[in-house]
Symmetry: C2
Subunit: 263 residues, 2 copies
């Protein structure tokens, strides 16, 4: 899906760089600035520093004079707004809206929508623009009004002021996940899942430990208390792997050898 | 749930301020820095600027010399790592892990875990620490090893380098949502849901429009083409509200009056 991020009158070059980086880590690269405070913002020191490795996004970003120019070719417009607007589009959380948007059929929210012929008429957009207002004031009402939805990131009611790049990061992250996501970069390397020890292996290991703890004098077979059941529970919760059974048996063996040497 | 954010050897004061802000917007305030590059980082200009209104978080943040000190009292430790580590804890996405962690019972991932008596033994932690490594290198292996999980934010495989504060923002956001979340700040004011127009009201309005468009000479009743069915579909997709029916009928009335005046 074609995805564009539009910053309306951004005033801090550092934020613009950080936005480029936030977009790129989520695989987006179409950035448009509407009437930024600095006309050379894309080449300013702070922008370049905070963009880190996302210089390509900065380099191909466009600066335009009006929101109209920024939205050419975009079908579905998402405002971002932390404060509710009267008469505006519906306010939704990003997760909620993206789920609805990407479903082929509309949620059956109303009896009217439940009618199949209506649902079939709902067309999934091919392009989405996310609009962000100036750092200090947020989006102007008239810009929110032209959008299909006002996205509101659920935040602390006493301090809902997300930094511009942080807001872009959250939206870009949610949108990427909604589109199917990237595998986690740190996806477990293609090593084999460890084999879990089965009950018999655990029981055998525990018997070995019982022997060892007795040899050490730590466990009194005449008054064992609940020591072994406790160890059993502990090891159960650990979901022991097979090779860990070998390690634990090695420990038991060493305990027994030490106890014998002591005597 | 007690939640702590731990920054290991952060080197940029601006990042520390931005982290405080990212935490506060998600309702968290326990920040600990382990051996930061600048001992006065919490009072540095860039930290204060980027913290914006989260100065209270900065003010109560603690600086300690070792990771051990930072983790006092914390039960469940989440590393953050973009690159996989051998022998480390399991790697999971934040969303996946938080869901598992907050469930009372473990996922039935293995036949062993399916045993009810094991599942009942799983204790939900009361405190969680999120660990973030130095900006340039990420977490050291030995620090990752002591954690229960390595969280990996799914990101662009070709550019997975999230800014430190951006990573904190995403984790804090996901964790807050997992804990039940805040209502969206821009929650639709407690206005009534608009009542949808029913089919009869839509049909009546369309009949009025048909009359008006005919009066205007825009619709030729002898050769109506598909104009009215098209309008019907358009208005269906719009899911008209009852008061919008009144508006549209007002428009029809005005069209008819204009057409009559013209004659």
């Amino acid at each position: 899906m074609q995805t564009r991020f539009v910053l309306i009158q951004p005033s801090h070059a550092g934020n613009v760089g950080a936005v480029a980086r936030a977009m790129k880590v989520m695989g987006f690269d179409d950035l448009v600035l509407v009437a930024p405070r600095w006309s050379n913002v894309l080449r300013r020191e702070e922008a370049i520093q905070r963009a880190s490795g996302a210089l390509d996004v900065l380099r191909q970003a466009r600066i335009v004079a009006t929101l109209d120019e920024a939205l050419v070719g975009m079908e579905h417009l998402c405002a971002t707004a932390m404060t509710p607007r009267d008469f505006g589009p519906p306010t939704r959380t990003p997760r909620e809206h993206f789920e609805m948007l990407l479903k082929k059929e509309l949620e059956a929210q109303s009896h009217q929508a439940q009618e199949a012929d209506l649902a079939l008429n709902v067309v999934r957009p091919q392009s989405v623009a996310f609009l962000f207002g100036p750092e200090r004031y947020g989006m102007a009402n008239e810009d929110v009004y032209r959008c299909h939805v006002a996205l509101s990131i659920p935040a602390n009611p006493d301090f809902g002021s997300l930094n511009l790049a942080a807001a872009v990061q959250v939206i870009a992250y949610e949108w990427r996940l909604a589109l199917g996501g990237f595998a986690p970069a740190a996806a477990p390397a293609p090593v084999q899942e460890p084999m879990l020890a089965d009950a018999a292996q655990v029981a055998g290991m525990l018997a070995h430990w019982e022997q060892a703890l007795t040899a050490l004098g730590f466990l009194d077979p005449a008054a064992p208390k609940k020591l072994m059941p406790r160890l059993q529970q502990l090891f159960n919760r650990a979901q022991l792997h097979r090779e860990e059974i070998h390690i634990l048996r090695g420990v038991a063996k060493a305990m027994i050898e030490a106890a014998q040497a002591k005597r």
